[in-house]
């Protein structure tokens, strides 16, 4: 039913069986396919390390799979590394690497799949596994200025509550600068900038004055070790963390988390809850996009349009609060469904607000399209071409502005999106204006989806109990407002969380940010930043 058209020929099942056959033919006994499970449609278990890069290359380049992310798990006797690939139209493929616990070195796949860059750096920083062939390990989440090497906080032996050992400020630390232009220097921005209204990110703009040659973001100032402190807690406690590590897309993240838990328990949310989840998820997307549009207007200093968009956003926040009781949609998702139900009158009121927001957004879009000084500042600014977007694996509206069609709602539907009719808008220019157009178009689609969800509501239960099924692990996913969000949850025998890992769209897109921020004029920097609309806290966790 979905209007989404996969660029992989054939339907999902044949695509998957094709792939299985091709892998068997190409890799033989080195790769053993295993049946679906843990939220994956296919698990490819690798017998030896050496075929990892070639298998990843085969999936990513030859078969057109999307790279989802990488999940490392420490078990008592072995490491498990999951490389998640998405076969559009079919589902998630798990490339599984099981290694003895003594293993310290794994071949890097960054030459084949550049998008794995930050994932490998994170695993190196957190677990101490060295990735051979990765040129830039170290100094990632644990900043070298403050933390010594070898702390490896995600290891089981590390206690989250005790202060980390051997920590001190290294004043001699110098960033690695790569621009060799006579007279170049690195202009530091942040982590406290814009009067603190910007999130805590530090940028080094390598420049020769007017022209910035390269901008390098330095993140993880907001790292709160969400995944570490989740370990050993109950599901309902970790749900609070999943909801609150990135509040501007709280509902999408809690949804992905709940879906992972539901997969472990082998339950499915009731139909009414599924439709309501879509309704609230799209409400969150609409609100987020209104806010992102306001930020873009603000970056170009077009005051009236900023005010207009900001009012739309605040009205949607208020509508969310009236509808659900919380402005940021906290406390709604629970494993098995939703925590509260909504009657027809509430839905009707919500529709009035949403329709008003859509009307206002349309007025804004029409006006902006005729504001030449505004367009001048956005067009050809922060360009990411389709090829780069593909190898950097840009997701969400940013990816879709650079001709990356992938949207989990269509490519790997969840919560019943397959029953909805909607478009996935995309653009090919990859500049700031294309990203703005995608935001407007998606907002329109979200309103359409909210209408469909309300029409589809049937009376019924909104929650089913989640019991049993553990120990177990599963992947849950959702298309958050900023793009694909993947949550990996693993429960131990007592039903407590053993490993929790969130792969967020901002993590994927911050990695690709440097591609847009090359060779630009200094005054365009806030605009590039705003059109990317990234969240540092969503990336940092």
């Amino acid at each position: 039913m979905a209007a989404y058209t996969s660029h992989v020929e054939g339907d999902g099942r044949t695509g998957l069986s094709d792939l299985t056959a091709a892998v068997g033919e190409r890799f033989g006994s080195a790769v053993s396919p295993m049946p679906a499970g843990h939220g994956y449609v296919l698990t490819l278990s690798l017998a030896q390390l050496s075929s990892l890069p070639s298998l990843c290359r085969f999936l990513f380049l030859d078969r057109g799979c999307q790279f989802g992310g990488m999940i490392a798990e420490e078990h008592s006797s072995q490491w498990q590394l999951h490389y998640a690939f998405l076969l559009p139209g079919s589902g998630w493929i798990d490339v599984l690497l099981s290694l003895p616990i003594e293993t310290t070195t794994v071949p890097s796949i960054v030459a084949e799949v550049n998008a794995a860059d930050w994932h490998e750096r994170e695993v190196e920083d957190m677990f101490g596994i060295h990735f051979e062939g990765h040129p830039r390990l170290g100094d990632f989440i644990l900043h070298d200025q403050i933390w010594c090497e070898g702390i490896e906080p995600m290891r089981k032996k590390f206690s989250a509550t005790e202060p980390a050992p051997g920590r001190q400020l290294d004043l001699e630390w110098k960033p690695q600068l790569i621009v060799a232009d006579p007279g170049s220097f690195a202009m530091p921005v942040g982590p406290v900038y814009e009067g603190g209204l910007g999130e805590s990110v530090h940028f080094l703009l390598e420049t020769v004055g007017e022209d910035v040659i390269r901008a390098l973001p330095r993140l993880f100032y907001n790292y709160r070790a969400v995944e570490k402190i989740a370990e050993g807690r109950s599901v309902s406690d970790v749900l609070l963390l999943a909801e609150r590590f990135a509040a501007t897309s709280a509902f999408a993240h809690s949804l992905a988390f709940c879906q992972a838990v539901e997969t472990i328990h082998s339950v499915e949310a009731p139909a009414r809850a599924a439709h309501l989840r879509i309704l609230i998820g799209e409400l969150e997307r609409l609100r987020h996009h209104a806010g992102a549009i306001a930020a873009i207007c603000e970056s170009t200093a077009l005051a009236v349009s900023t005010a207009h968009a900001a009012i739309i956003e605040e009205e949607l926040l208020r509508a969310s609060c009236v509808f659900t009781g919380h402005r940021y949609l906290f406390g709604l998702n629970v494993p098995g469904g939703l925590s509260s139900d909504f009657d027809a009158e509430q839905c009707r009121k919500l529709l009035v607000s949403v329709d008003k927001a859509e009307k206002d957004l349309r007025i804004l879009e029409n006006r902006l399209r005729y504001s030449s000084s505004f367009l001048d500042r956005l067009e050809d600014v922060g360009v990411v071409d389709g090829k780069s977007a593909r190898y950097l694996n840009l997701v969400g509206p940013i990816g879709r502005a650079s001709a990356q069609h992938c949207d989990l709602r269509g490519a790997c539907p969840y919560s019943g999106y397959e029953g909805y009719v909607f478009d996935i808008p995309y653009e090919t220019e990859g500049d700031g204006f294309a990203r703005l157009r995608v935001l407007f178009a998606e907002a329109t689609q979200s309103v359409k989806l909210i209408h469909q969800a309300i029409d589809a509501l049937e009376p019924g239960a909104i929650c089913v109990p989640c019991e049993g099924g553990y120990p177990g692990a599963a992947l849950g996913w959702a298309e958050a407002p900023r793009g694909a969000a993947l949550h990996w949850v693993s429960l131990d025998e007592k039903g407590l969380v053993e490993r929790y890992h969130a792969i967020t769209p901002s993590f994927s897109n911050w990695h690709g940010f440097h591609e847009a921020a090359e060779d630009f004029a200094f005054q365009d920097f806030p605009i590039i930043l705003a059109t990317f609309g990234l969240s540092a806290t969503e990336c940092d966790r």
Partner: protein, 714 residues
């Protein structure tokens, strides 16, 4: 008083001779002291000789011997020569003190100091002889001596090949200019009774306009080479950069001025041309100023930057001279007098602050081992004394009151604004354009020297150099003396202008004193030129108040508009200085009173919350001036010679290399085409030298037939 002048000149030449002898006889150790003592003494004699002429207004004349075929060699120190002699004396005074502390650092065993001393005094004598020569042969002989001595001093201690090339380019250009000047004098001398300047001047009155034009162009080219005018100044930045720091102030403060002296003497004093020549000088001057300051702003080598800045200042001076020529030719002697006094004032100022800045640069280089502004930074904490003196130099050259650059640039711009009196619209348009260009130049000059001071003295130390910190008392005295002169010339223009008037009046035909430096404002007969109600207004404003306090004329430099429109452009650096000082004092007093009870909390530098702001994270000189480079891209036309991006693991950028190359606009538009044309002609001629006898016989025959054809009638 003429006897004082004569005596000082004689003593000066004796001192120079003594200096040459003593330098030659003394060893490496003693020679710096000889240069310092004898140099200081002889420069004081120069100042004395110049001062007596300027104060009394009496020229000094002396005849030397007669040379066969050249006539009598005569010396004449008139007011025009004196003003240049005064500038040279002040510069030499400072340089001689400065040299003592630096010379042994700069010269090693292979280039002994005493030989340097010989050349130093020889150059000093030849410069003074050029200024006092009153006939063409002596003038030309001394000019040639000066050129060769400059070359020898420039190439004295050169080790690098490129620096040698700079010396040869300078020598070649000097010789080309010299030949042009010789031809100019020959054209003048064709109808003259002898080759003395007075005879040449008399002969020039009878020359046709075409001949005058050719004399003007030859002289303007010949002296323009020395004065650093576009497009024949490409030797200047090269040789200034190559010159050793002990010699470069002489270059910038003395020999550059000889170019202006030549232009004034030959093109303004000996001949009187129409206003076309003035327009040429004005346009060339304005373009030179703009080109000079653009390259000064973007260059990061302090010395090269100052060289380009000298070009800029030369442009401003020549623009003033151009305005003077136009006003004189079109019968506005008062305007002409203002323009000329502006030009001379600027010449004097430039000699002083440029000497100061070059010596400051030498000091910086000696302390840090580098002149690259990208590498420097933070010097104000290392060298607080030098920092203040250098700041004075920067403010003066950026035309910021209360220093001397402001007075002369203000007067130059005012002189250009007076073009309203001219009748020709097209010339008025040229004036307007040149005025706008000079205003842009002045603005860029501020940018340029903000950059120099901020990037070298403020902020962090960006390079890897280590400070050496060896204090030099004499150096500080020399620099402090120049800074004091900058302040005096900037605050007391009303005392300087009457002195300049001695020079200006005979050339312009009008006195600048009455029109430019007013007596104290009062409605009495002294100010017959101004309407009485207007004077009364000024009187009521208190313009009379300084009369009892200070001797001399009123402290207001003033320019008047037309009779129909008596707009007054007035300023008084002296009053402003006093007011500025009082305001600062008052502000300091008020601030200390108000904050007496407040605790002052000193906090670390705010840098966005990062642990430490590294020197690599602060603006470099290149970064500071890059906006200028971007805006004037059409002139700079930078060439990106290298733009490589290295990656590992397919996508990881490990290095971005970028290298720019700029060809100076004069090199690009003048030197390279001329060079290419010369090579082409040489190649063509070489093609004729193929050594075949038959062809030579054919050439001879053809030439013979041509001659027969040409002289067929006779």
């Amino acid at each position: 008083m003429a006897s004082v002048t004569g005596a000082s000149l004689v003593l000066f030449f004796l001192a120079c001779a003594g200096g040459i002898l003593l330098s030659a006889l003394s060893g490496r150790k003693r020679a710096p002291l000889v240069i310092a003592i004898v140099g200081t003494l002889s420069s004081l004699l120069m100042v004395l000789a110049a001062a007596t002429v300027l104060v009394t207004g009496q020229s000094y004349e002396a005849s030397l011997w007669t040379l066969d075929g050249f006539g009598r060699l005569t010396l004449r120190l008139d007011a025009l020569s004196s003003i240049f002699l005064l500038a040279a004396g002040i510069v030499y005074f400072s340089v001689s003190i400065f040299v003592r502390n630096f010379i042994n650092d700069q010269l090693d065993e292979a280039y002994p100091t005493h030989r340097y001393g010989v050349l130093y005094f020889a150059l000093m004598a030849s410069v003074v002889l050029i200024l006092v020569a009153s006939d063409a042969p002596l003038f030309l002989i001394c000019w040639e001596c000066m050129s060769i001595l400059c070359f020898l001093l420039l190439n004295y201690d050169l080790r690098r090949q490129s620096d040698k090339a700079a010396g040869y380019i300078m020598l070649a250009m000097s010789e080309a200019g010299f030949l042009a000047v010789v031809v100019a004098f020959l054209v003048l001398g064709r109808t003259a009774t002898d080759l003395s300047f007075s005879a040449l001047s008399a002969a020039a009155a009878g020359l046709s306009p075409q001949a005058l034009w050719s004399v003007f162009l030859l002289g303007f080219f010949g002296f323009g080479v020395k004065a650093g005018l576009v497009p024949v100044n490409f030797w200047l930045p090269r040789s200034y950069t190559a010159a050793s720091p002990i010699f470069i102030p002489v270059f910038a403060g003395v020999t550059l001025n000889l170019g202006f002296y030549g232009i004034l003497r030959l093109n303004a004093d000996l001949i009187h041309t129409g206003y076309g020549t003035g327009v040429l000088a004005l346009v060339v001057g304005s373009i030179t100023a703009l080109v000079g300051i653009l390259y000064a702003t973007t260059d990061n080598d302090m010395k090269t930057m100052l060289a380009h800045s000298s070009i800029e200042n030369a442009g401003i001076i020549v623009a003033g001279l151009g305005a003077f020529l136009i006003y004189r030719a079109s019968g506005h002697p008062v305007a002409a007098a203002i323009a000329l006094s502006a030009a001379l004032y600027h010449m004097l100022n430039h000699s002083i602050y440029k000497t100061l800045l070059f010596q400051g640069t030498a000091y910086v280089e000696a302390e840090t081992g580098t002149r690259d502004m990208d590498q420097l930074g933070g010097l104000s904490r290392l060298l607080p004394g030098l920092s203040i003196i250098f700041l004075v130099g920067c403010l003066a050259i950026s035309a910021v009151p209360p220093f001397n650059g402001f007075v002369s640039e203000w007067m130059t711009l005012q002189a250009l604004l007076r073009s309203a009196v001219l009748s020709s619209t097209s010339v008025r348009i040229v004036f307007a354009l040149c005025g706008a260009s000079l205003a842009l130049t002045a603005a860029l000059a501020v940018t340029c020297f903000v950059k120099v001071y901020a990037m070298s003295f403020l902020g962090f130390r960006r390079g890897t150099w280590e400070p050496r910190l060896n204090a030099r008392a004499g150096t500080r005295f020399s620099l402090g003396f120049l800074a004091a002169v900058c302040l005096l010339l900037g605050t007391l223009p009303t005392y300087v202008l009457p002195v300049l008037n001695r020079t200006v009046e005979p050339l312009a035909g009008a006195s600048v004193t009455t029109s430019l430096v007013q007596p104290f404002f009062t409605a009495n007969a002294e100010n017959g030129q101004l309407p009485a109600p207007f004077l009364q207004d000024f009187h009521n404003l208190g313009a009379q108040s300084g009369k009892g306090l200070l001797p001399g004329r009123g402290l207001v430099v003033l320019l008047r508009g037309l009779e129909a429109n008596p707009v007054v452009f007035a300023m008084s650096p002296s009053y402003s200085f006093v007011a500025l000082a009082l305001l600062l004092l008052l502000a300091w007093f008020v601030v200390t009173r108000l904050t007496r009870r407040r605790a002052v909390a000193r906090r670390a530098l705010w840098a966005g919350g990062i642990p430490r702001l590294l020197p690599q994270m602060t603006y470099t000189a290149t970064g500071f001036s890059n906006p200028v480079r971007v805006v004037f891209q059409a002139i700079f036309q930078p060439n990106i010679t290298e733009d490589t991006r290295q990656t590992v693991a397919v996508h990881f950028r490990t290095a971005i290399h970028r290298q720019r190359e700029e060809t100076h606009v004069v090199d690009r538009l003048f030197l390279q085409p001329v060079g290419a044309a010369t090579r082409w002609i040489a190649g063509f001629l070489a093609g004729m030298h193929h050594g075949r006898l038959n062809a030579y016989v054919t050439y001879v025959l053809a030439f013979f037939l041509l001659i027969l054809f040409l002289y067929r009638g006779t």
